[in-house]
Amino acid sequence: MPKPTAIIGQVILYGAFAAFIGYFATSPKYRQIADDVALIKLSISHLGERECRKRTPEELAKMPPNMRAPMDCPRERSDIRLEMDLDGQPVLRTVMHPTGLYKDGVSTIYRRFEVKAGSHQIAVRMNDNLIKPGFNFVKEEEINLRPGQVMVIDFNPDKGGLFFQ
């Protein structure tokens, strides 16, 4: 049987152990971003265009009848050029490369931009076929972000291309 002093010592030490666990299991509090900040997530996953070529009649004639596809599309996808401006200032200029060993996968990007809550002018431009100049998808809009709001910039051809959510 332990001595009374030993029992008191054990109670104190087990209590300290529980207090240590209890404190650091909840404290100190953690805040990922400041109160007056909002978050813009730019996340796009898109297959670049393929640089197809129309086969000539002579080429088609040389092919087996069941394989006479009119277009010759390589497996590789085009890089995608993406730009983003925030309040007139360029914040992103990048070229997304297709994934996969044969560069036939999607091109992806995921970026976070922490901005002050309030009104912002956002412009996003994208070109998914780099043999053509310029940008074939453009979205520009003034948005009003509340503190803590998460706004997503994504791309979906079915939704008309670039969109803010």
Binding site: P2, I21, S43, I109
Partner: protein, 568 residues
């Protein structure tokens, strides 16, 4: 010849011929190594790592010994961190099974079903939920302390290499299990953790699409996400348990659980904490909004603030570098391995006692090649710690055997039983004074060399577990008035079980036992670790005082002089 001590400078070296035994195997079994008596083996070169490790060891040891005061060695949680961790894991598993039965994995129902536990069923589900969380935090803490302790005690190479290497992956499995549990609740904390973890994972080139896209908007999450989470949160802990089995696979007499008092007190502490500060959910997750300040579990979720403070690249670099360092630690310079136990087939009776006592499962029994129907001990050199506990357990190690060359069934080349008997006989013969005492002391415990005097012979041992109890009787019948035996502190044996086996053998609870005819008053057992020299000295004074009072008592054993004895 006096038994020299490492404290007296360079230990002397003497060649010993142990090959003259009646066995064709003996020449192969006994290597012709030199015996370094009572000395320390050459250590590794001094490096930043060794200085750091020794510094940490010193701090850890002091705290550990301070806790021996209130807890005692047997119940000192720091001395049983592995067993305590396993106990916490069982609490986590037990409470988790209940939580699993009431969990609804629907996207909205998951938050509700867990919240109801803390609200409507606070007396059972709420407490179990809190217990699950706090035991998980305690597990992370205990696991980290266990890692630090084993590192600073240098337990990562040689015969411990396997346990070390199998322990490193468990850190990852434990962490994955812990962090996944937070996501299941799907509150704001889960939202922060899941998103931040996905963003961290996306830094690695392992996904074709960023996994963080799964947490872009509220629509991104589906019921299947929670089904997958539960699957992971159960599957990974199962892997962890499997890994733990492998982790302790190569040691014997594993402490799967700590002492009853430790278990009860730990459970009580966590239960009180659960009642005073129940684990509650934050507001439900909403991926369209970022949460504000949150109650944060720093034991498990610390990685997110670390990432925010630095970058995913730095965090991965830290994690992978730390893991690689842990795996590479055994490659760093470390003390040379101790010579391993050797078996002499002619003297091995196949009794299994060494098999039963070996702390590291280094001994196996095989059919004896020369004696049909008998077994023979075989030592796995990779697993042998060189502690000598097997030699202490061998019935052939009794010093009362008449033959001049005492060859036992299993022996330590660096401190053979024969040499120990010779040393003891010579040391006892040299003793003079009214109370002649022989001190058998673990070389890793308190330094006993300072006790050596005309009336005190000091015999350092690899581990007290290597001392057959019959040596105590042999010393008393050889002329000593008393014997002081110093082990490490309970639970503090470098070879895990040396102190325990010694106590049990002396108490007659384990074979080979000390004969009951040996007067208990003439034997003093002390448990003084390195630095506890005053305690050892006090124990010697106690023994002397007792011997002085009982000097005329009629409990003296009849003398036994092997060289003139007619019986073996």
């Amino acid at each position: 010849m006096a038994w020299p001590s490492a404290a007296h400078g360079q230990p002397p070296v003497m060649p010993v011929d142990l090959t003259r035994v009646n066995s064709p195997y003996a020449g192969n079994q006994y290597n012709q190594r030199l015996i370094v008596t009572g000395g320390t083996r050459p250590g590794p070169p001094v490096s930043f790592h060794s200085i750091l490790r020794k510094g940490a060891r010193s701090v850890f040891l002091r705290i550990e010994e301070a806790l021996d005061g209130p807890f005692g060695g047997g119940d000192n949680p720091l001395r049983h961190l592995g067993a305590l961790g396993l106990y916490l894991l069982w609490i986590i598993v037990g409470s988790g099974l209940y939580l699993y039965t009431v969990l609804d994995t629907g996207i909205d129902a998951v938050y509700q079903s867990i919240g109801d536990l803390s609200g409507e069923q606070w007396y059972l589900g709420g407490i179990l939920r809190s217990l699950h969380r706090y035991a998980s935090d305690a597990f992370m803490l205990v696991m980290t302390l266990h890692l630090i302790r084993e590192w600073c005690y240098g337990r990562y190479h040689g015969f411990r290499l396997y346990s070390w290497m199998t322990g490193v992956p468990l850190l990852w499995l434990a962490y994955i299990s812990g962090i996944g549990g937070y996501w299941i609740v799907w509150d704001q904390l889960a939202q922060v953790s899941a998103t931040a973890t996905a963003e961290l994972l996306d830094w690695l080139p392992i996904f074709s699409e960023p996994s963080a896209r799964n947490f872009l908007t509220p629509d991104s999450i589906s019921d299947r996400f929670f089904t997958m989470l539960v699957f992971i949160h159960i599957g990974v802990p199962l892997l962890l348990i499997l890994g733990l089995w492998a982790h302790v696979h190569r040691i014997s007499h594993v402490d799967y659980l700590p002492g009853k008092r430790v278990m009860l007190a730990t459970l009580l502490a966590l239960l009180i904490l659960s009642l005073l500060q129940p684990a509650l959910s934050n507001p439900p997750a909403n991926l369209a909004m970022l949460p504000g300040a949150l109650d944060f579990d720093w034991f498990i979720l610390f990685i997110h603030p670390l990432t925010d403070l630095t970058s995913p690249a730095i965090v991965w670099l830290l994690l992978l570098a730390l893991t690689a360092l842990l795996f590479a630690l055994p490659l760093l310079p470390h003390p040379a391995a101790e010579p391993v136990a050797v078996v002499d087939p002619a003297n091995c009776t196949g009794c299994d006692r060494c098999l039963a006592d070996c702390p590291y499962a280094a001994i196996a029994m095989q059919p004896h090649p020369l004696r049909p129907g008998f077994k023979l001990a075989v030592v796995d050199g990779d697993l042998c710690a060189g502690c000598g506990i097997c030699a202490g357990s061998c019935p052939s190690s009794t010093p009362f055997r008449r033959r001049d060359k005492l060859v036992t069934g299993i022996d330590m080349p660096q401190q053979p039983i024969h040499a120990l008997r010779e040393e003891l006989e010579q040391a006892v013969a040299r003793l003079s004074g009214p109370q002649r005492v022989v001190v058998f002391a673990c070389a890793r415990g308190a330094d006993a060399s300072g006790l050596a005097a005309a009336d005190t012979a000091v015999m350092p041992l690899l581990c007290t577990g290597m001392l057959p109890p019959s040596f105590v009787e042999y010393a008393l019948r050889g002329g000593a008035d008393g014997v002081l035996l110093n082990t490490c502190r309970p639970g503090g044996c470098d070879f895990r079980l040396g102190d325990r086996w010694t106590r049990e053998r002396l108490a007659g609870e384990r074979e080979p036992h000390l004969r009951q005819t040996v007067p208990a008053a003439r034997l003093q057992l002390c448990a003084a670790a390195a630095g506890d020299e005053p305690m050892l000295s006090a124990a010697l004074n106690d023994l002397r005082a007792r011997l002085a009072n009982e000097a005329l008592a009629s409990d003296r054993l009849p003398p036994y002089l092997r060289r003139v004895s007619n019986h073996a």
